[in-house]
Symmetry: C2
Subunit: 420 residues, 2 copies
């Protein structure tokens, strides 16, 4: 490795990961047996990191380590190691509030920028399951619960000024990944950038039209500003269907390395966008045996399930667990105040929804015209089949941004997606 | 002093401040002569700190030091010393961008939580000058320039993600003063709080009516939430007329210990509110020789001067000095984009104005019904004369909050203040 790294850092491999775990008494005990007997597999298929699954006779763990560059791009795109620090910080901050919905966290090794957590089995990535035509009856509810519980607990409603200040201060330093989001999600896709790619030549016209759509760019830039300046809660920062591991009954949210104190709607919008993109991509995965219509409808039906769970849980927590400094109980002590407070809460959630629609649009456009695409579309091998579906997603996103008043409820999103 | 303080800290007095300065070669040189020859005066008349003016044969300086409690309340209200750290950090962060509009900064002594800066002479506090019936032909322009330059330079338009993250992270720790603002400005005045006071019994009815005005409280709480969650720029945090020192020609902004990365409209609204309150208080300072009508009109005329200067300068800087990550130039590269970008800029400034009106209202109400009052009203000795003027200010503030669409321009504010 030619990039400079701090003293004590080395990239783990199938051998040294055993030594590392064997030196941690609790991990050694959890795995059982001798290190040579452990099965080790490196499975990091994401864009950024090393991920080892380690199975011993008594148990198993997962080890995740930062590399000093973007794995998907290679050493030509260096990236600070500290994203592992922020990822483990996020798990520690929200873990107690989302019990059962995030992997159990075991250990962080600062100088290696590596941490050990629960190895999930037989979970698969939600996005893959949906592409394969599987359904997960609880997943939309679970992710809605996760988004509500994690953001409420770290907001100025669920936490004190002093508690939130710790997260704000610490996660503000996650600048390398905040910058990646600002560039790769918000500014690149509608700019001329060598990092952009799209289905060519089928979508050349779309790319050109979007890049010269001034109103669209204005709306995206407004959301970019909001992304950088809205510190509502500690957010996951990348809550798409590729960050969720599932079985029929269990759901775990992963990969919070993009976390920082930002807009709640960004997490909500990420999941919404990826449900809608999966819905629109389903015809591309149709076979003679399965036209995927039922699967597509089921996926889209998860949009209201997800939002309604999020909203209901957030409001319920606000009723039972408000201990922060915003909307303080002292100001609303009279019974007559309760109707107004309830209306402010509704208005607050309406604002989160409006934000979510905007961020969903931005995150959809970037998957069609920007650097990182998603397999919902990429796995449709035939570009002649893929491009029209990608075009639908992009056009729906454009409507989200330019006609926001038409998308005030999850049902509006469902109707819009069906009509496109 | 009975409150615990860190090692190395002691409260300066007229003797030890000499030793402190004499040990700093640059300060010794600036003052000239022997320490015994220096004239020292402690003038801290604010709520929080010690302030020494030191004059030597060759020059003079000002020393400001934190006390471990709220000076206005005594040791029964302890307050961390670190506000001096944040105050000097703010001067260092914005100093280069507001040259001539803030005192020159000379030295910070960490363990004493004390710093040395330019001693201003013959400046007086703007609020006092306005109460005395004086006019300052440049002050509204100067403060508008200050607000625009300081916030632009520290926003995501004028600074990079990495630069802003440093301020966000550092100033997020200014929790003791952020908490004071959240409580004393936003929540206490419309709650039952032993810290509240008002002109009694004349305004008992007003206090009762406001505390039971659910809609008003809802609007104030919305702005409280925005205050805690909007990280647009490094703001002064207390930009009222008591934080501005003036001569006929010169203006210096002082006392940024409440600074943090917050909403730009909070600084703008603070100055607006205090101009309007001074305008409404002028009849209380009328004498047989001077009915103060001209002075009042002049003060109110400064509202549009201040806002127009702020807006013009902010937009001009956006044209010439945008180097941040929001609204990036790469997205607006086509000539055809310029009209949309200009419209987004206008909309952005409209948003700052709307925020400013809301914060101005909140800051007005707290001066009538909360803990810290201002001398614009307090120096009207006769409560029968003072109370109706305070009532006007409170009623205008209520209109700002409940009829925001009627106050979209500085001229609307002028008209509203005249009509009340």
């Amino acid at each position: 490795m030619s990039l400079p790294t701090p003293a004590g850092y080395y990239a783990l491999d199938n051998h040294s990961v055993r030594t590392f775990l064997n030196d941690l008494p609790e991990m050694r005990a959890k795995l059982g047996g001798a290190p040579e007997s452990w099965a080790v597999e490196e499975v990091g298929d994401g864009n950024l990191n090393l991920v080892f699954l380690v199975d011993g006779p008594d148990g198993s763990v997962c080890v995740k380590q930062s590399l000093p560059y973007v794995r998907a791009a290679g050493e030509s795109w260096p990236l600070p190691l500290d994203r592992a620090f922020f990822e483990q910080s996020y798990y520690r901050a929200v873990g107690a509030h989302v019990e059962g919905l995030a992997p159990r966290f075991y250990h962080y090794q600062p100088e290696l920028y590596a941490f050990v957590m629960e190895r999930l089995s037989p979970h698969i990535i939600l996005r893959r399951g949906l592409i394969e035509g599987r359904r997960y009856p609880h997943v939309a509810q679970h992710v809605g619960e996760f988004a509500a519980r994690s953001t409420f607990a770290t907001s100025d409603i669920g936490a004190t000024i002093e508690e939130k200040a710790e997260w704000t201060a610490s996660f503000a330093k996650n600048t390398s990944l905040i910058r990646i989001t600002a560039e790769v999600v918000f500014s690149d896709p509608l700019s001329e950038s060598p990092r952009n790619r799209w289905t060519r030549p089928e979508l050349d016209g779309l790319a050109r039209a979007f890049r010269s759509d001034s109103a669209l760019k204005g709306a995206v830039a407004d959301f970019g500003w909001r992304f950088l300046t809205t510190g509502q809660a500690l957010i996951h920062g990348d809550l798409h269907t590729g960050s969720v591991m599932v079985t029929e009954t269990d759901t775990k949210v992963m990969d919070p390395e993009f976390s920082f104190v930002g807009p709640i709607g960004y997490d909500v919008g990420a999941f919404l966008a990826n449900l809608v993109m999966n819905y629109l991509a389903q015809p591309g995965h149709a076979t003679a045996a399965d036209d995927r219509r039922e699967q597509a409808d089921w996926v889209l039906d998860q949009v209201p399930v997800f939002w309604n769970t999020f909203k209901t849980r957030f409001l319920a927590l606000w009723e039972t667990s408000a201990r922060g400094d915003a909307y303080p109980a002292t100001m609303f002590a009279h019974p007559a105040d309760q109707a107004v407070l309830a209306a402010r809460r509704e208005a607050f959630l309406d604002g989160v929804f409006a934000d979510a629609v905007g961020y969903a649009a931005v995150k959809t456009i970037r998957r069609i015209l920007g650097f990182a695409h998603n397999i919902d579309f990429e796995w449709i091998a035939d570009p002649a089949r893929r491009a029209p579906l990608e075009n639908k997603a992009a056009q729906l996103a454009r409507k989200f941004l330019l006609e926001p008043h038409s998308f005030r409820t999850p049902e509006d999103i469902v109707a819009g997606a069906k009509a496109i």
